[in-house]
C-alpha cells in the first residue's frame, strides 16, 4: 500500500509541519494538548518510516524511494530525495529516538512545553532531510537549518552556562559548514549540477581532491566530533536538556560520519587514500586519548560525552582502514566489513548513548546535579533504575550480547588486517571503556547511601520505565541478532567500497 507514497517527503515534512502545529497550541496553559499532539506526530512519523525498511530492496545499491522535482531551475537545484542501505537505517534511528525524546520530556519540561516539543519535531524532519537528500543544495539547506532548533533547545532549556555552550556549538559547526559550502560550490561549477550522485562520478585531479577532502573534513570532523575539534561537545552536552543530549549524541554526531560515506569517500577517493594515515591517527587518538580523558571526568554527562567521542573514533577508523588493509594483505577484502562495523557502531551508539543520557536525566530530574560525587548507593533506593543503568553501562563498555559489542568487535577484527598496532590501540577501548563506565557506575549506583537526598529517591515511574525498557530491548536485540542491520547495508557498502577503490584521477 505504501508503494506510491512519497515516504521520504512524509518523514521530512510530517514532523516539520506537525511541529509547527504543536507550536500553534501556544502557551503553557495548553501544554497537555501540545504534548499529546507532539506524541502523535512523532509516532506517526515513526510509523511512516517503517515501510522504508519493510519495502526496502536489500540486493541493490541503487537509491530507493526516489523523489525528483525541479526546485530552483536557474541553478539546477532539484528537490531530489532517495535512500540506500547507508542512509535508511539512520532515518529509522532518527524517527525512533524522537518518539522516546518526546516521551522523556513529558512532565519534565514545564516551561514552554509546546515549543520544546515542536523544536524536536522540526529537528527530526530536518535531520531526515539531511539523510534523504541527494541534491547537495538541498542537503546543505537541511544541514544548516537543523542547527537552529538544536541551538534553541540548548539556549532556552539549557543549564546555567548555556550561552557559552550554544555559541561554541554554533561557531564550531558553522565554521565547519562554510568550508563544505565552498567545496560543494566548486563541485557544482564542475559538474553543472548539485546532484550528489553526479559529484561522485566526477574525475578530479589529486590536488583538487585534496582541497575538497580537507574542506569536507573540517565540516564532518567537527560534527562527529574528531580530536582536536571535539571540545564543543562536552560543553554542549552538559548544558543541553536531556532530550537535547539524546538527539545530539544519538543522531547529530552521525551526520558527520554519514558525510564521510556520502561525500568524502566517494567524491574524493584518492585524497581519502592520501590522507588515510591522518584519519587513522585521529581516530586512534579519539579512542585512546579521549578514553583517558573520560576517566578523569567528575560530571556524568561530560563522561558520557567523552565516551561518545571515543566510540565515534571506531566509526572513522572503520571508514579509513580500507587502504591499510590493501597494503598489508594485498587485497581489499575486509574493507566492506570495516565500514559495516563502523555503521553498526553508529546505530548502536545512538541507542546506547541515548539511553545513558536518559539515565543521567532520570537522576538529574530528581537530584538536580550531575556530579558523580553527589551520588552513591542509588541502587538502594532505585533498584529498577539501577538494573537498567548497569545494563546500559555494560553496553557502553561493549559487552557481547549488547549492540555495543558488534561494531567494536568487527572494527577491531578488520583493523588487525590493516596493522597489528592499529588493532592493538583500538582494542585498548576494551579496558578503558570498561574502566570509565564501570567506575562511574561503582561511584554512582553501588555502595552505601551517602546522603539523605539519595536515600529518599523514588524509583523510576512507568513512563521512564517504558522508555528505558524499549531501549534495553533494542540494545539486546541487536546484540544478539545484528544480522538484519547488516543485511540492509551490505549491498550499498559493497558498492561504495568498489567505487572508492577505483581511482578518479583525471
Amino acid at each position: 500500500m505504501f508503494a506510491d507514497w512519497p515516504l521520504l517527503s512524509l518523514v521530512i515534512w510530517v514532523p516539520v509541519f506537525g511541529g509547527l502545529l504543536v507550536l500553534a497550541t501556544g502557551g503553557d496553559k495548553n501544554a497537555p494538548e501540545a504534548r499529546m499532539l507532539a506524541l502523535i506526530v512523532a509516532v506517526v512519523s515513526f510509523l511512516l518510516s517503517i515501510p522504508l525498511y519493510t519495502n526496502f530492496q536489500m540486493h541493490t545499491s541503487n537509491m530507493q524511494f526516489v523523489e525528483l522535482h525541479p526546485w530552483i531551475e536557474t541553478f539546477k537545484v532539484n528537490y531530489h530525495l532517495g535512500v540506500d542501505g547507508i542512509s535508511m537505517p539512520l532515518i529509522l534511528l532518527t524517527t525512533f529516538m524522537t518518539v522516546l525524546v518526546i516521551i522523556a520530556g513529558w512532565e519534565v519540561i514545564q516551561f514552554k512545553a509546546a515549543q520544546y516539543m515542536a523544536a524536536f519535531l522540526i529537528m527530526e524532519g530536518l535531520m531526515n532531510g539531511v539523510f534523504a537528500s541527494l541534491d547537495a543544495a538541498l542537503f546543505y539547506v537541511f544541514w544548516e537549518a537543523m542547527l537552529i532548533p538544536m541551538f534553541i533547545v540548548i539556549g532556552v532549556w539549557g543549564g546555567p552556562n548555556r550561552v557559552y555552550a550554544t555559541i561554541k556549538f554554533f561557531l564550531y559547526t558553522f565554521f565547519g559548514s562554510v568550508f563544505m559550502l565552498i567545496a560543494l560550490l566548486y563541485l557544482f561549477f564542475h559538474t553543472g549540477s548539485f546532484s550528489i550522485l553526479e559529484f561522485q562520478k566526477l574525475p578530479l585531479a589529486l590536488d583538487v581532491q585534496k582541497m575538497i577532502f580537507l574542506a569536507f573534513l573540517v565540516a564532518f570532523a567537527v560534527k562527529i566530533p574528531m580530536w582536536p575539534v571535539h571540545t564543543w561537545l562536552p560543553d554542549a552536552h552538559v548544558e543541553a536538556p536531556t532530550g537535547g543530549s539524546v538527539i545530539l549524541a544519538a543522531i547529530m554526531l552521525k551526520l558527520g560520519a554519514y558525510g564521510f560515506l556520502r561525500f568524502s569517500l566517494p567524491i574524493t577517493p584518492d585524497a581519502s587514500h592520501a590522507y588515510d594515515g591522518l584519519m587513522i591517527t585521529l581516530s586512534l587518538i579519539a579512542v585512546v586519548y579521549i578514553g583517558f580523558v573520560a576517566l578523569a571526568q567528575q560530571d556524568m554527562k561530560k563522561l558520557i560525552a567523552y565516551s561518545s567521542i571515543s566510540h565515534m573514533g571506531f566509526v572513522t577508523l572503520g571508514f579509513f582502514i580500507i587502504w591499510s588493509i590493501a597494503t598489508n594483505t594485498g587485497s581489499y577484502k575486509g574493507a566492506v566489513m570495516g565500514i559495516e562495523g563502523a555503521m553498526v557502531q553508529m546505530i548502536s551508539h545512538g541507542f546506547i548513548s541515548g539511553a545513558m543520557f536518559l539515565c543521567v536525566g532520570v537522576m538529574y530530574d530528581r537530584m538536580h546535579t550531575r556530579m558523580i560525587k553527589d551520588y552513591g548507593g542509588v541502587v538502594n533506593s532505585m533498584p529498577t533504575f539501577a538494573a537498567f543503568m548497569v545494563l546500559f553501562a555494560m553496553a557502553n563498555a561493549g559487552l557481547p550480547g549488547t549492540s555495543g559489542f558488534v561494531g567494536e568487535f568487527i572494527v577491531i577484527l578488520t583493523a588487525f588486517k590493516a596493522n597489528f598496532w592499529i588493532a592493538f590501540l583500538a582494542a585498548i577501548t576494551l579496558i578503558l571503556g570498561a574502566a570509565y563506565t564501570l567506575w562511574m557506575v561503582k561511584r554512582v549506583i553501588f555502595g552505601e547511601v551517602t546522603n539523605e537526598a539519595v536515600r529518599s529517591l523514588k524509583d523510576i515511574n512507568r513512563r521512564e520505565f517504558f522508555i528505558l525498557a524499549i531501549l534495553a530491548i533494542t540494545v539486546l536485540f541487536f546484540g544478539l541478532y545484528p544480522a538484519p542491520l547488516l543485511n540492509v547495508m551490505d549491498a550499498s557498502v559493497s558498492n561504495l567500497v568498489h567505487h572508492v577503490t577505483i581511482s578518479k584521477l583525471k
Binding site: 557481547p400 559489542f405 588487525f416 597489528f420 598496532w421 576494551l430 547511601v449 547488516l486
Partner: protein
C-alpha cells in the same frame, strides 16, 4: 527428540530459570525462584548426563552445527552454534552438576538474604553463559560466553553492593579480566585474518596452511603467526584463569557470597582458560614458544600463589590461593602438551574444590559469618558431616594416593618431568615443591578449623551446630566424586584416548602417551606412588602442619618473627596490588587528568578556540578604535593613503 534441540534445551533451561527468577522475582516469590532455577539446572544436568552417556559410553557421534547466523559480512558468517564432542560434554556435565549442587546449597546459605531471587537468577544466568562458552563451535561465541561469565562474576562479586570492599573487588575483577580479553580479542582477530573464518573445525583443518607464515610486529623481526595468535589467546586465558600477573582479582573475588566462590571462582569459570587452551590444542601444538610461555607462567602461578596460601587467616582466602595454585598446575600441564591431564585435573579439582568452598561456607554459617580461622578450632565435634567431607576434600587436594586429586596431579607432575620444552626444569621443580606447599596450607587450615583449642567466643560456641540438609547434602554428593572419580577415569582420560579428536598432540610432544606405556591401572599407580617424591613431600607437609598447629603452637609466631621480611613480602602478596594501584590505576587517572586539563582545556580550548575568540575580539577592538567618527581623522587617513600611493608611483615601485 532431535539432538540439536536437546542441546538447545541444555543451554536454555538455566536461562529460562534465570529470566523468571530475575524479572519476575517478586511474583514467583522466594521458593518460586529457587524451584524454577533448580529445576532449570536439573533439567540441564540430566540432559548433559544423557548426552555424556550417549557420546562417551555408547560411542555416539558428536555434533557440530549452527543454531543461527549472528551476522554475515563480506561473506564471512558469524554464527552461534554447538560443537558437542567428548571435551565439551565432559565440561557440560561438570558445570551443570556443580551448579546444581550450588543451587541446592544456596537455599540454605542465602536463606535470610533479601536478594534471594536475584542471587538465584545470577547463578542460573552464569550456568547458561558457561554452557554457551563450552558448547561453542566458534571463536565468536566463545568470546560471548567468555565475557558473559565475566559479567555474572562481576554481578556476583558485587552481590552485596553496599560493601565498599565488594564493589571494589568486582570492578577490579572485571577490569583485570578485560586486560586478558584485550589479548584474547586480538588473538581472535589474528585467527580471522589468517584463517578467514572463526569456525573451530575449519581453523583446525587449515593449521598447516598457516604454520610457517610469519608477521612483523616490531621492527623487522619475523614472528610465527601461530605463536603470536597463541600467545594472544593465552593472555585471555591468563585473565580468566587467574595466572600471574593477571591473578590479582581472584583473591578479592572472595567478597562474593560463598556459593559463587565455589561455583564460579573455583570449579567452573576460572577453568575456562584451561578449557580454551585445550580446545585450541591444534594451534598451540604448532608453537613451542607459546607452549613454553604457558608452562612457565603456569609454574610461577602454581608455586608462588601456593606460598601466599600459607599465611592467610581468612578461611576463604586460603582456599582461593589454593585455587590459584591448582590453576597453575593445570596450566603447566597444558604447556607440557599434557592437555588431557590438565583437563582431568580441571574435572577432579572442580569437585573437590567446590566441596572445600561449600564446606568453608558451612563453617561460615555455623560461625555466624566469622571467617577468621584464628577464631575457630575444634569444630569437628559440632559439625561431623562438614568435618568429614572437608577432610576428604583436603586429602583429595593434596594428592593422597587413591583420591581423585592424586591421579590428576600425579599425571601432571610426571608429564612435566618428560617435557623437553624450554623451562621444563623450572616447571618440574615448581610443581614438585608445590606439593609440599599444598599439603602445608591445606592441613594448616584443616587443623586450625576442625581441631585443637576452641578459640571462638562463648556466644558463638553455644550456637554451634551442624548446618541443615540442603547444605550438607551437596557436601556429601561432592565428596563422592572427590574420592572416586580420579581412579575411575585416570586410565581413559589421562592415559587413554578419552577425548579422541577433541585434543590434538604432536607425536614429539606426546608425554602422556609415553606415560601410558607404564600405566597398569589405577590401583597399581596408587601403590607405586608410595615410593615417589610427591607422596613423601605431601606427607611431610601434613606432618609439619600437625607439628606447627597442633603440637608446638607457639612456633609459627617465632618463625614469622625470624623471617619478618619474607612474611612482609607474602603478606603484601608480592606487592602486585600496590604496584597495580599506583602504576596502572593511579597512572591512568593521572594521564586522564593531564590530557583533559592540559590537552583539552589549556591547549585546545585555552589557546586555539578561546584564543581565536580573544584574537578576534582584540582585532575588532583595535579596528573599532580606528573608527572614531571624527571627519578629520578620516580625512587624515585619506591623505596618508594618497601620499603613500603617490610615493610608490614616484619611486617606481609599481
Amino acid at each position: 527428540m532431535e539432538m540439536k534441540s536437546l542441546y538447545l534445551w541444555i543451554a536454555l533451561s538455566p536461562l529460562i530459570g534465570a529470566v523468571i527468577a530475575g524479572l519476575f522475582g517478586k511474583m514467583v516469590g522466594r521458593s518460586g525462584a529457587h524451584w524454577v532455577t533448580i529445576i532449570g539446572v536439573a533439567v540441564s544436568c540430566l540432559l548433559s548426563l544423557y548426552v555424556f552417556k550417549a557420546i562417551v559410553i555408547d560411542g555416539a557421534d558428536g555434533f557440530n552445527g549452527t543454531v543461527y547466523t549472528w551476522l554475515v559480512s563480506e561473506g564471512i558468517h558469524f554464527e552461534v552454534g554447538f560443537l558437542i564432542d567428548k571435551l565439551s560434554v565432559m565440561m557440560m556435565v561438570v558445570v551443570t552438576f556443580v551448579s546444581l549442587m550450588v543451587h541446592i546449597y544456596t537455599v540454605g546459605y542465602m536463606r535470610d538474604d533479601p536478594g534471594y531471587q536475584r542471587f538465584f537468577s545470577y547463578i542460573s544466568l552464569f550456568t547458561f553463559s558457561m554452557l554457551i562458552l563450552v558448547m561453542s563451535n566458534n571463536f565468536m561465541q566463545l568470546f560471548f560466553g567468555w565475557e558473559a561469565v565475566g559479567l555474572v562474576s562481576y554481578l556476583l562479586i558485587g552481590f552485596w553492593y553496599t560493601r565498599e570492599s565488594a564493589i571494589y573487588a568486582n570492578l577490579k575483577a572485571f577490569l583485570v579480566n578485560r586486560v586478558g580479553d584485550f589479548g584474547f580479542l586480538l588473538g581472535i582477530a589474528g585467527v580471522l585474518m589468517y584463517f578467514g573464518t572463526l569456525d573451530y573445525a575449519t581453523v583446525f583443518a587449515n593449521v598447516d596452511k598457516v604454520d610457517g607464515k610469519t608477521m612483523t610486529i616490531l621492527g623487522s623481526t619475523p614472528w610465527s603467526v601461530l605463536t603470536v595468535i597463541c600467545i594472544l589467546l593465552f593472555i585471555g586465558a591468563m585473565g580468566k584463569s587467574a595466572q600471574v600477573p593477571l591473578h590479582v582479582w581472584l583473591p578479592d573475588s572472595m567478597e562474593g557470597p560463598t556459593p559463587i566462590s565455589a561455583l564460579i571462582h573455583a570449579a567452573t569459570m576460572v577453568t575456562a582458560g584451561i578449557f580454551m587452551v585445550a580446545r585450541m590444542s591444534p594451534l598451540f601444538e604448532m608453537s613451542e614458544t607459546a607452549l613454553s610461555v604457558v608452562m612457565v607462567i603456569g609454574a610461577i602461578t602454581a608455586l608462588f600463589m601456593g606460598f601466599l596460601g600459607l599465611i592467610q587467616n581468612d578461611i576463604k582466602r586460603v582456599i582461593a590461593y589454593s585455587t590459584l595454585s591448582q590453576l597453575g598446575y593445570m596450566t603447566v600441564a597444558l604447556g607440557a602438551s599434557a592437555y588431557a591431564a590438565g583437563i582431568f585435573h580441571l574435572m577432579t579439582h572442580a569437585f573437590f574444590k567446590a566441596l572445600l568452598f561449600l564446606g568453608a561456607g558451612s563453617v561460615i554459617i555455623a560461625m555466624h559469618h566469622v571467617q577468621d580461622i584464628r577464631q575457630m578450632g575444634g569444630l569437628r565435634k559440632y559439625m561431623p558431616i562438614t568435618w568429614i567431607t572437608f577432610l576428604i576434600g583436603s586429602l583429595a587436594l593434596i594428592g593422597t594416593p587413591g583420591f581423585a586429586g592424586f591421579y590428576s596431579k600425579d599425571s601432571i607432575i610426571e608429564a612435566v618431568q618428560l617435557s623437553t620444552l624450554p623451562g621444563h626444569q623450572f616447571a618440574y621443580f615448581a610443581v614438585l615443591a608445590g606439593v609440599l606447599v599444598t599439603a602445608l596450607y591445606s592441613f594448616r587450615l584443616y587443623f586450625l578449623v576442625f581441631h585443637g583449642k576452641e578459640r571462638m567466643d562463648e556466644h558463638t560456641r553455644a550456637h554451634l551446630h551442624e548446618t541443615p540438609w540442603v547444605v550438607t547434602l551437596p557436601l556429601i554428593l561432592l565428596a563422592i566424586p572427590s574420592v572416586f572419580i580420579g581412579a575411575y577415569y585416570v586410565g581413559s582420560m589421562a592415559f587413554g584416548n578419552f577425548f579422541g579428536d577433541a585434543i590434538f598432540v604432536l607425536p614429539q610432544h606426546n608425554v602422556l602417551g609415553e606415560l601410558a606405556r607404564e600405566f597398569h591401572g589405577a590401583w597399581p599407580m596408587a601403590i607405586h606412588a608410595f615410593s615417589t617424591a610427591p607422596f613423601w613431600l605431601a606427607l611431610s607437609g601434613v606432618v609439619i602442619a600437625y607439628y606447627l598447629y597442633m603440637v608446638n603452637t607457639a612456633l609459627p609466631a617465632k618463625i614469622q618473627a625470624r623471617v619478618q621480611f619474607l612474611y612482609t613480602l607474602l603478606d603484601n602478596k608480592y606487592y602486585f596490588d600496590r604496584f597495580n594501584e599506583i602504576f596502572f590505576a593511579g597512572g591512568s587517572r593521572g594521564i586522564g587528568r593531564l590530557l583533559w586539563q592540559t590537552g583539552d582545556a589549556k591547549l585546545i580550548d585555552g589557546m586555539i578556540i578561546n584564543g581565536t575568540a580573544r584574537t578576534v575580539g582584540w582585532v575588532s577592538g583595535v579596528v573599532r578604535r580606528v573608527q572614531t567618527g571624527y571627519l578629520y581623522h578620516y580625512a587624515f587617513a585619506m591623505i596618508l593613503g594618497l601620499m603613500f600611493l603617490l610615493a610608490t608611483y614616484v619611486l617606481g615601485w609599481i
